[in-house]
Symmetry: C2
Subunit: 197 residues, 2 copies
Amino acid sequence: MSLVLDPATQALLFSDARTANTFTDEPVTEEQVQAIYDLVKYGPTAFNQTPLRVVLVRSAEARERLLPHMAEGNRAKTGAAPLVAILAADNEFHEELPRLVPQAPHLKDVFFGERSTRERSAAMNASLQAGYFIVGVRAAGLAAGPMTGFDFAGVQKEFLDDDHTPLMIVNIGKPGEDAWSPARNPRLPFDDVVTTV
Amino acid sequence: MSLVLDPATQALLFSDARTANTFTDEPVTEEQVQAIYDLVKYGPTAFNQTPLRVVLVRSAEARERLLPHMAEGNRAKTGAAPLVAILAADNEFHEELPRLVPQAPHLKDVFFGERSTRERSAAMNASLQAGYFIVGVRAAGLAAGPMTGFDFAGVQKEFLDDDHTPLMIVNIGKPGEDAWSPARNPRLPFDDVVTTV
């Protein structure tokens, strides 16, 4: 009773949601991806920098270019998923700050003039947004299959550029047969994660 | 209509939720924090590593130790928030992997034997979990005020240790008067964030 969120939605977003390894053939539409973005774009980031960028791998040709970069254990499911999204951090996000924080035009140069500062900030805030994105995929009634098992340099070279660092690749779709193992991996007990001072 | 999530819950978690700068005096209970953790602990991480750790700053003494490390603009609100949480990444998360992924006892040493690898992985995955945590705070009907404006080295020394890297500090409570400015900062349009190949 400590949550406002109803139990069905708790299940949809977190407690019953699982990382899917198989999917049905049902396509993921452009409208669904737009709705996911229009929901999760509101998630907070430092100075509203919102550095997450997404590459949707839709064409068969692009999928073929992606698969050799996936770890062997991720290749078949990435080949079969209805939609594959490459999530990346934009290390030049500061160029967008004047329109993201119009009341503070100095932010761009004062806080983010150094590339190394931007890379650290973009990695942290884009990862935070990746968390929102996965919740958003589930909010659309879809399953996400996030993966870090791939050749990061290879994916960056093939699909991104020097200013965009890949974070993870996410398979998206309706879960298929035996989409996950019945036993869920355990989580740490509260007292091993949260301490009070 | 592309989302399964109902509009009221979309508003609760994302579209109406704002970063709060003032709070009421209503306390945030231990039961609420436990409920938030028990919800968001299920969010996926790479190899179920779940490296996020949380320090709840509850005592007046601890709050006094924290405030000098906050950026001046964050000090008053951090002093007044009902609860303050320090979110950190555990760079020695691999020690927990045998109980988190019991079927793959080799993970700990094969993938995460190197400290630098662990630090990168912990930063990314704990940031991902910070995204889930902020959503969880909102799922409890509370407002979050995440901040990166503080002395990271100072907070690490005062509240953590060499194995735990601070990520952000989050004020938590019911939003108070004028908790945020009426105008919300803009977000990037879909086509500037999402590309299709």
